[in-house]
Symmetry: C2
Subunit: 229 residues, 2 copies
């Protein structure tokens, strides 16, 4: 489902090069529930952007659902992202001037499927209801708390029923009880067959998954298999 081989990513800034990923090889099967943990700056978000088809590697290979992503053009990449992948960004990336409802409708608006557009408003409402924000649909991001913005980002990632859900610190701004509610949603989606990968720094969140991959300095350092259903 998701495979990387010797994946490297460098950021160039003038005469300085930051080696964010230094040869990452890993494999995630369809239907897995995986957590990625590691110190700040160890390359977790960089990896998520590459497997989420939001960026291209400097070298190495990245294969999503059997497709080598460096062989796709921008148009095919955008289609894969929109149809197959739901991404929760570490800093949410919400449109500041749009309401919660419009932010969640956005992925549906990119669909080329006409019937998607008829049900768009209703599906966005349901997604917001599922994360407890039914009474915040008309608020803009600046009129919402940190945890509410995070939940909009989660709702938006799920509204297109993606096969693969990638969450970069999806519960970072949520208190324990609400973090557990989000994990319950992700667990259910995983039981329904979706592949879920989350970056988290909280062990209490990671313990809901079935495998934890540890990062350090741009490399995979090790992993744990958890005895969960």
């Amino acid at each position: 489902m998701i495979e990387t081989t010797d994946l490297c990513k460098e950021y160039r800034m003038g005469n300085v090069t930051v080696e964010a990923l230094r040869g990452v090889t890993l494999s995630i099967e369809a239907g897995e529930f995986v957590a990625i943990m590691g110190p700040s700056g160890s390359g977790k978000s960089t990896l998520m952007h590459l497997i989420g088809c939001l960026d291209r590697p400097t070298s190495g290979e990245c294969t999503i659902e059997g497709v080598e992503v460096s062989k796709l053009d921008e148009y095919q990449l955008a289609h894969l992202r929109n149809k197959r992948i739901g991404f929760v960004f570490q800093s949410y990336n919400l449109l500041a001037r749009a309401t919660a409802l419009r932010n969640v409708e956005l992925p549906i608006m990119y669909s080329r499927d006409a019937k998607d557009h008829h049900s768009r408003r209703e599906r966005a409402r349901q997604a917001l209801e599922a994360v407890g924000l039914a009474d915040r649909v008309d608020h803009r991001p600046t009129e919402l708390s940190g945890g509410e913005q995070q939940r909009i980002a989660i709702a938006r990632a799920l509204v297109n029923n993606p096969d693969i859900i990638l969450g970069d610190e999806p519960t970072g701004n949520l208190a324990t009880e609400q973090g557990e509610e989000i994990m319950a949603i992700l667990q259910q989606l995983n039981k329904d067959g979706r592949t879920v990968v989350i970056v988290t720094h909280e062990a209490d969140i990671a313990k809901h998954t079935r495998r934890i991959i540890y990062f350090r300095d741009g490399l995979v350092e090790g992993e744990d298999i958890l005895d969960n259903p």
Copy 2:
């Protein structure tokens, strides 16, 4: 040091009113080390903005170091904020086009004290070094990981040696080890006599403080005293 009496804050949006704080009365002595916990949307950031002199209440009183803040004009409020209070925002509020170094220098640039300006660059470097970012001084926020941005926000809050440190989820994007390093910095500052108040949703972080205040639906629900040095 920090006292609120029946503090209320309403947000008006068209014909909808959100009651973010519904009568909060609390008192924090100089030198205390306090955590504030509670569900997403319960009013924690709103309270922090009021006691940080970044916003005004709808009703009720807020007194900082003996001064009733609603009696201050904008100029006096800005001076109090700059000299006395260090604020770590939940969404960092960094200048996107400035380097890490310039972002941390910013509070010193507002000082009216000439000798502050001579030592500015050096003090900013030291603050960044204290949070482990000595080798990221020339990066801009978009060229940094989430946890690195968070640590710049922390360095900026501390660079003016404030009496009161207010941190809104200061370790939200930091893995356990680095979260502990930040708590060690805050603990040392507290031992040196500073008042530290942090919002956190992680019990492991809150256990470093000496008192936890619990929020729910815009009100204080209760508190715990912790047996810490």
